[in-house]
Assembly symmetry: C2
Homo-oligomer: 467 residues x 2
């Protein structure tokens, strides 16, 4: 009896000790996360950094002078944040320039109607006098192929499949439509088209044309054809007019040009880990943007949120156990050269990345994370759900993390993307209205706090489930 009671007592004690340890750990983590959100909502720099990036520097297309200004500005700001080291990584990037503002009109019998277009990134120019031709509307690359050379030759192909409004997540609607923009010119050229016009990747009807990357793939340069995006309202109008006059003509003129690659930079800030300096956790976004606006959502927001993660840690005196790197990647939009260069240097240095987090889905209210990892790692991260609940972070799903961290290949690395509310993202994406005033200060700050919280939880708890 005595022994049994003693054993019972011991077990009770162990349970109590374990329980209080657990409670203690929980409480400390909960406290820290509360402090993280408080710091971000009351004492952050991210909004004023974004103000500067957007309103003082402006659009930051790879190879532009303003992209380099952004490199110097963020480097200088990072140097105030108590990193052990802030440095640049040299990377050659493509340089494409839009040139003069594009013009376009529909010529229906003798009536001209101007419509808003913009050249797609990487497109060639039209001739100086512009390009005019009959139009053939298609809903897909498959429909294009089915029509074949007979129907396509000499014409402008008009891709008009809308993003699917039934999708709940706007990124799914984007994935389902963007092949028209990326591959449209290359495929149409194979059937003798003289140009392509693509309905903007936008879920709403408005007058903004949305640019974005396109690729001629490996077709010969002589077969490159000019390609542009048309606003959704413009696309609706063109389609309507084609229904009553299939012989109408479309005119457009653009003077964009591809130049030789130029030298640019990733910006990196590093804090050495106190316990595992060889284990690296990356948090980042991309410095470059398209040229039509400030790129405040894409991806000014991700840049300043990543910097804010370290600003929060500094304000709270938190010393990470693992090495933390803020990486501001160059050239996500039209080449991914920054992401590839970062991985190339990481491999050369035999580095071990355990975690990478990217914010490149806009500065909207954070909802959760999209994770690339195995099931055990997913379960570990999903176990943080309760801690995140008071901050309305509910959505932990497997899926695409971020383009810039895509090239990372460390064994067992977990990659995560911040998942903000996606409904308004494609109202602004790659268009002239992606400006500072489209970003809400609190939504931006909540995103930064959510990123800092996950970085903190993984720094504290580890993520390598195979140890």
């Amino acid at each position: 009896m005595i022994i049994k009671n003693l054993m019972k007592k011991s077990i009770v004690s162990v349970v109590l000790v374990l329980n209080s340890f657990f409670l203690f750990a929980q409480t400390n983590e909960e406290k820290m996360i509360k402090e993280i959100y408080k710091s971000s909502l009351t004492n952050s720099k991210c909004y004023s950094w974004l103000d500067h990036l957007s309103n003082q520097i402006g659009s930051r297309l790879s190879g532009s002078a303003s992209a380099e200004k952004a490199v110097q500005y963020t480097r200088a700001q990072m140097e105030t944040l108590g990193f052990d080291r802030v440095y640049l990584q040299e990377v050659m990037v493509p340089k494409w320039m839009r040139g003069e503002k594009e013009t376009a009109y529909i010529l229906d019998n003798k009536s001209k109607t101007n419509v808003p277009i913009c050249a797609l990134g990487g497109s060639i120019a039209t001739s100086k006098s512009g390009l005019i031709a009959e139009v053939i509307e298609v809903q897909s690359l498959e429909e294009l192929a089915a029509l074949g050379t007979d129907k396509i030759k000499g014409k402008i192909v008009f891709y008009n499949r809308p993003m699917d409004n039934e999708q709940i997540e706007s990124f799914h609607a984007y994935s389902g439509a963007v092949d028209q923009r990326y591959d449209g010119a290359k495929e149409a050229s194979k059937f003798g088209a003289v140009g392509t016009i693509v309905r903007s990747m936008n879920l709403r009807l408005d007058d903004f044309p949305h640019t974005g990357a396109q690729s001629y793939g490996d077709i010969p340069k002589s077969q490159y054809i000019p390609t542009a995006a048309i606003s959704t309202n413009g696309a609706e109008l063109l389609s309507k007019k084609l229904k009553s006059n299939s012989k109408l003509k479309f005119y457009f003129k653009q003077s964009c040009e591809q130049f030789d690659d130029v030298l640019s930079h990733n910006v990196v800030g590093e804090i050495k880990g106190t316990e595992h300096p060889d284990k690296i956790m990356v948090v980042g976004g991309h410095l470059d943007s398209w040229d039509l606006a400030d790129g405040s959502h894409d991806d000014g927001a991700g840049v300043v949120q990543s910097m804010e993660v370290v600003n929060i840690f500094k304000n709270l005196g938190y010393k990470p156990k693992n090495t933390i790197r803020v990486v501001l990647f160059m050239n996500e939009e039209n080449g991914l050269r920054g992401g590839k260069k970062y991985e190339e240097l990481s491999l050369a240095n035999n580095e071990n990345h355990i975690f990478a987090l990217e914010s490149d889905s806009g500065g909207f209210s954070p909802r959760g994370f999209s994770l690339e990892c195995d099931d055990a790692q997913f379960d570990k991260i999903a176990s943080f759900t309760k801690v995140f609940e008071p901050y309305l972070i509910h959505s932990f799903v497997k899926g695409h993390s971020g383009s810039d961290i895509g090239p990372l290949t460390s064994k067992n690395i977990v990659k995560a993307g911040l998942k903000p509310d996606s409904q308004r993202y494609f109202d602004y994406h790659h268009a002239a209205n992606d400006k500072f005033d489209a970003v809400d200060k609190r939504e931006l700050e909540l995103g930064a706090a959510t990123m800092a919280s996950l970085m903190y939880l993984i720094d504290q708890n580890g993520i390598d489930t195979k140890q």
Copy 2:
């Protein structure tokens, strides 16, 4: 053995039948909810209704001609939606008018700085030449009381406690600050103040003054003093100037006036339930708005979402088991007369309301519901979580549902408020920028679908856990 086996078989069969019944039910509900979201995102009328309400009718303060236009417009639209009956409920409402645009300036020695203000709803006017006096800044009603008559008499009291940015939900920050607006004039008058200026209920710094209800309570009319809101930037400036010159003066002029009550209306549309016509489920928002803007978020969004619930049911051919009423309440903003009248008539008719849902927190991305009910009812609604997850509806919490449904007293009634993302709500609330272009079409439609889904699930599954 045989009997045993037979029994075993029977049990297996029962389990199989129950399982397939459960699966069948689940699958049908899931299918229906998918159709609800699809209908709202691809075939809804709510955005064009809101366009009309905001851009053709405009602001709808109780007692105004435009409020009555909104009554007639929504009644006419509801008559196209296949209700069994659409009717008006007469209700007497207060009529307060702003009059001329207010003016205000800080007089610091001889330098005048204009600042944006607006009279608070229900305030009296200043004299025709305006009011000028020294200012005393306080952070709370408690600080006011501690200062007392000696310090307050003859002065303008300036309430400047900001909404608390640490709060994750902006409504919590609002609750923590709004006593200054609602009770500020009444309390300051008791200590001999000649007027009050209240920092706008706004989490960000900008130039919009935000109006809203205030009350003189039961102090004698002779002691009423004029009260106005100042923009957050204006409040910061006034506070800064007071620090260097506590003797500066503040001038403001407003010509608002309270008139006799006038006749107005709630708009009601009713579909008789096929199985339980005596059990009533209400869905609604409020038709009136403040006068400074279109009131697109507050509460045009809630009005058109409530109507859309029935439009969705009509499009999908869904016949509710319980009686469904869309109620567009009048006078939520400065009297709640519509909500009280609805309940008064409901009591007179001995009606039984089992459920009421209000949308009055803006047309932003829906996040969940705030519920007033007992634990068993809460558990029943929380059991729908899985069905809502694909639509990113995660947040089911106990809390305030809606003001207009507040007066309802049916036994065992469950009250719910749609909970949209709250971060941007107070950027617009009661201010001149609460306009149509501040509402995103998809966010509005997702809100309507979320409301329709909960109405459907409760209609199907019931909610009275005490039967």
